[in-house]
Subunit: 133 residues, 4 copies
């Protein structure tokens, strides 16, 4: 992804980028994709009936990550209240999805990658949150 | 919209629908559309340079409302932590967008409708939040 | 929804609204919600393993409808090539989802409502397509 | 991004991944982010009134890319009609956005990066389209 180059070229930023927020934006888009993919892979598993909650949490997490990534990308407009609330929601969605995927890491490679990705995104949301004004 | 009929036909619900959540889902989708439309109308105004923050808040609000509407629609999977965090974020995004649109209600009919719609959605998110377990 | 009021208040429209496009925007948002809800209800059914393809088509249709609804809402910027391609894609996604849901109308009320909604949206996309310049 | 690892771990794929589709998925998510960022940067420019069409095409392209990326990620469910129509729509949205951004590459670094990214995504959609059954 090119979050650093894009935000660095924003007229209101002038090269003075917020590294924690950039990291968070990249993790959000990556996590949205991984969760969308994990939901589809879970749906194809023989044990799909046991993966219902995993699929729902995957879909929720994908949705929240995308909205957070977009709001964080527009943050140069100075909207710390909304971005702060979304970073909180996103960390929660990532944690809940990771907890569920972690129960299936031995059986499903997609759940293993998804759990790791959600934990990275949860951490990045927390770091970005700490760096807000 | 048909949120009541759809949620009433969900096998885990059995007709026992949460009215505050249904109202909130309908307001979220409506508000997402109105904010998308208000952003485009603001962009076409002669005074676009003074509406930058309004456009950004419109776009943020649209994004957060859609994610909240989808997560709330899937709530029958029992995910009160994520839905609660999203209802908080959505009420915040709606309030911020309404505050900005309210500054332009005399000049722009789209901001007037958008401000009213955001206030309704903010209220519906609060009611749905209060009704969560 | 308030698509007519919002588009009517757009400075580039001046009250001269395209009725077929407005109908289509409203159907797209409604269909996006119904498909999201049907996917979640299918996931909760005992026979979930037989509903995998239905769930995937529901999720695809929801995604395509939302993108189409947003692009159509911004059409006042005159982007007939993109909106035309999206109306085609949306009619296809709605038709495929309807065909699958129609196989389950006797067993699942959510599939019955979803099939009808997808058919309405498919029709509205076709009408809006025919009215493009 | 981790599209290759995720799709490779899907039970219906068995390591036999479609390289053109994976490349396309990654370009779609990247392009969605870059277009969202370019719209916000354009909005902050002094000459915002001349960038209206660029902002609209950015927002349309972001929306279409995300929907295409998600539908393509779920393609393992075999939905070539919908994914084909979305790849067509996405190539169109990327081309239109690139054409507009290319008019501003000398003045705005964000438009330069965005034009290049849209052209890459347009090309990747075409390649993925050619590889569909």
């Amino acid at each position: 992804m090119q979050a650093r180059e894009m935000i660095g070229s924003h007229p209101a930023v002038g090269g003075n980028v917020n590294e924690a927020l950039i990291q968070c934006i990249e993790e959000c888009y990556d996590c949205a994709h991984v969760c969308t993919s994990c939901a589809d892979a879970c749906l194809a598993e023989d044990m799909v009936a046991e993966l219902r909650q995993c699929i729902r949490l995957n879909l929720d997490c994908a949705e929240v990550c995308l909205a957070t990534g977009a709001v964080a990308t527009r943050r140069t407009g100075s909207n710390p209240e909304v971005i702060g609330a979304m970073l909180d929601a996103c960390a929660t969605a990532c944690r809940r999805c990771a907890e569920e995927c972690e129960r299936h890491v031995d059986e499903h490679g997609h759940c293993r990658i998804c759990a790791q990705t959600c934990r990275r995104c949860e951490e990045a949301c927390g770091q970005a949150r700490a760096g807000l004004p």
